[in-house]
C-alpha cells in the first residue's frame, strides 16, 4: 500500500495568501507605503532627476552633449578599459574557482580571503597604490621614466586600477557555485576518457554558465562605472585620459550641468540595462536549479 509523501504545498495554500498568522490589512499597507516611500525618495527621485536634468535644455542639446568628441572618446576609453579588465578577470576568476573548488590544499581559506581584498579597499586607495607603484616617485617610477613608458596618468594605469577593483567579482560568483557542484561530473568525464580542456568546456562550463554570466554582468558594470580609483590614476586630460564617469565630473565642475547629466544619463541607461540583464539571469538560474532538482533526487554534492 503506497505511503508516498507529497510535499506539503500540495495541500496547503500558497504563501502569498493572507495567512492566519499575518499582519492585519492596515498594518500591511502602512508598512508597504513606508517602504515604497523610502525607496522612492532614495532611489527613484534621483533616477528621475538624471533624465529630467539631461533633457532640461531640450533634445538637440542632449544629442550634442553625447556626440561631442570628448564625450565620444571618453566612451571609447570606457569600453576599451572594460574590454581589457573584464576578460582578464574572467580568466582569473575561472582559474581561481577551478583550483579552489576541485582540489583540496592548504591555505585555501587564506586564498579566498585574499581574493576578497579589493572589496575591502576604498576606491581611492585602489588608485593610490598604483600611483605608489608606477608614479614618478613610485617603486618603478625611475625605471619607467628611463624607458619613457607612461603608466600613471595614462591609460595603462587606468586599466590596472580598474582591474584591481573588479578582480573579485567573477571569482566570488563562481567559487561557491562550483564548490556546491562538486567534482563528480568532472571525474566521470575523466574516467570516460575526456581530456582536461574537453572536460572544462563540455562538462563544467555548461553547469556554471548562468553564474558566469551574472559575474560578467556585475564585473562589467563596475568596470565601466568606476570613478574613484580611475580618477586618482587618470591624467584628467580631456579627450585622452577620461572615461565617461570622469567626463561627467569635468562637465559638472564646469557648470555645464545639462551636458553633464546628458552623459550621466547614458551611464544610467547602462545601469538599468545591467539591472534588467541581472534579473533575467537570476530568473534563468532559478529555473535551471529547479529543473535540476526534479531530475536528481539527491543533490548531495559536497565540495572538494
Amino acid at each position: 500500500m503506497a505511503t508516498a509523501v507529497l510535499p506539503r504545498s500540495a495541500t496547503t495554500a500558497p504563501r502569498a495568501v493572507v495567512r492566519a498568522t499575518g499582519e492585519s490589512r492596515t498594518v500591511r499597507w502602512i508598512l508597504i507605503a513606508i517602504a515604497l516611500g523610502f525607496l522612492s525618495l532614495v532611489l527613484l527621485v534621483p533616477l528621475l532627476l538624471v533624465f529630467v536634468q539631461a533633457l532640461s535644455k531640450g533634445l538637440p542639446a542632449y544629442w550634442e552633449a553625447i556626440k561631442e568628441p570628448d564625450a565620444l572618446s571618453a566612451a571609447k576609453l570606457t569600453l576599451l578599459i572594460a574590454a581589457i579588465a573584464v576578460p582578464a578577470n574572467l580568466i582569473f576568476g575561472v582559474a581561481a574557482a577551478w583550483c579552489i573548488s576541485k582540489f583540496a590544499f592548504r591555505g585555501k581559506h587564506l586564498l579566498i580571503t585574499l581574493i576578497d581584498l579589493p572589496f575591502a579597499v576604498s576606491p581611492v586607495i585602489s588608485g593610490m597604490i598604483f600611483v605608489l607603484l608606477f608614479g614618478a616617485h613610485g617603486w618603478f617610477g625611475p625605471w619607467l621614466a628611463e624607458h619613457d613608458i607612461k603608466v600613471i596618468f595614462a591609460i595603462p594605469g587606468m586599466v590596472l586600477a580598474t582591474t584591481f577593483v573588479t578582480a573579485p567579482f567573477i571569482a566570488r560568483e563562481l567559487i561557491p557555485l562550483m564548490q556546491e557542484q562538486g567534482t563528480e561530473e568532472e571525474e566521470a568525464a575523466i574516467v570516460l576518457g575526456a581530456g582536461g580542456w574537453q572536460t572544462f568546456f563540455r562538462v563544467t562550463l555548461p553547469n556554471i554558465k548562468w553564474g558566469l554570466l551574472y559575474g560578467l554582468i556585475l564585473c562589467n558594470a563596475r568596470a565601466m562605472g568606476e570613478f574613484g580609483a580611475v580618477s586618482v590614476v587618470s591624467g584628467h586630460i580631456r579627450g585622452e585620459t577620461n572615461t565617461l564617469p570622469l567626463h561627467v565630473e569635468i562637465l559638472y565642475n564646469e557648470y555645464a550641468f545639462a551636458a553633464s547629466f546628458a552623459v550621466a544619463s547614458v551611464l544610467t541607461l547602462l545601469a538599468l540595462v545591467t539591472l534588467a540583464l541581472k534579473t533575467l539571469v537570476e530568473w534563468q538560474q532559478r529555473r535551471a536549479m529547479s529543473d535540476a532538482a526534479e531530475v536528481f533526487t539527491t543533490p548531495e554534492r559536497i565540495a572538494a
Binding site: M1, T3, A10, T11, T12, R19, A20
Partner: protein, 353 residues
Amino acid sequence: MSIQVRNLRKTFGDFVALNDVSLDVPGGELVSLLGPSGSGKTTLLRIIAGLEPADTGTIHFHGEDTTERPVRERQVGFVFQHYALFRHMSVFENVAFGLRVKPRNMRPPEKEIRETVMGLLHLVQLDVQAERRPSELSGGQRQRVALARALAVKPKVLLLDEPFGALDAKVRKELRRWLRRLHEEVHVTSVFVTHDQEEALEVSDRVVIMNEGKIEQSGTPEEVYDRPATPFVYGFLGDVNLFHGRLDRGQVSIGANQLEAPEWAEAKDQAAVAYVRTYDIELTPVPSGLSSIEATVQHVRAFGPMVRLELRRVEDGETIEAHVPRAIFEKHGVVKGQRVFVSPTSVRVFAQS
C-alpha cells in the same frame, strides 16, 4: 472539550480539499484522521486550529462557535511535523514561550512558570536537556519538546500534524506508544493526522478515514478494520486482493470460480468487486470446491512469521497476493512455479453502481 465540525468546505483554486465534511470529536478522546496524501486531513486539522479559514461551514468547541475566532484565541495546542521549535531559544524557553506571551494580567509569576515548565519537561523525560538548544537534540527529542510546549498553555484541544512523520521507524513506534500513555495521563481532546494506518489503529480511540476531501468512515479501530463501510476503506487498511465479477443472488461469479456473498442474497446480476485480505487466503494442493482458484506460484518471500506469495491466476493471468503462516507454508512445501489452489476464507463484496 468536544469539537463539532459541520459542513466544512475548502478549495485551493480549482482543487477541492474538503467537500462538505462534518465530524464530531467527543471530549477527552484521541482521534486520528487517516488517509492518503491529498485527502484533506491536514487541511481539516489546520482549519480546526484556525491556521486556515474554511470557505463555508462551522467549527464549534463544546457548543461554542469558534469559526471566526483567530488562532491565538482558540486555546489549541498544535504540534507540527517538523517541530517548528524556536531555534534560538533553549528547550526551557521554548516550552515557557506560551506562558511568557500571555497578557500581563494573566501571566503567571516566574516561579510558577518554572515549575510548570520543569514539570512538563519531566513528563516528556527531557528535564536534563532544559538548557540545550534544539539543534543539539535528536528528532524524537525535538518532537517531545514540541509536545511539552503545546501542553504548557493547558490547551483545550491538542492537534498534531503527522507528528512522527519526520522520524525513523523505530523512534516512531516508541513515540507512538508514548503518546498513547501521555494521553491516558493528561486526557486532552486530541486529534492527530497520519497517513500510517498502523499508527492510527494502534493509538487512537477513534479513526476517521478520509479520501479526496470526504470522510469515508469514522469508528473505533476494530470497527473500521473488521467492518469497512466502503471499498476505499477496505483497500486502504491492510493489503487486499480485488476480484471483478458478477453478483447474482448471493453468489459472486469470478470466471470459473464462485464465492459466497450471503449479504447480497437479493442482488440480481450486478457487476461487483470482491475484496479478499491477503491473509484470508487458504492454500491447498488440490481444489476444494468452486471457490478454489487455480494459480501458479511466481515469487516466494519467506522471511518473518508470514510468508508472502505472489501468485498468478491460471484463468486470466491476474496477480494474487497471499500471506500464509510459516507453518502452513512449510507443511505444503510450496516452491516457485508450482501449481496450487487458493481459497478465500473471508470475502467482502461491494456492488458496482
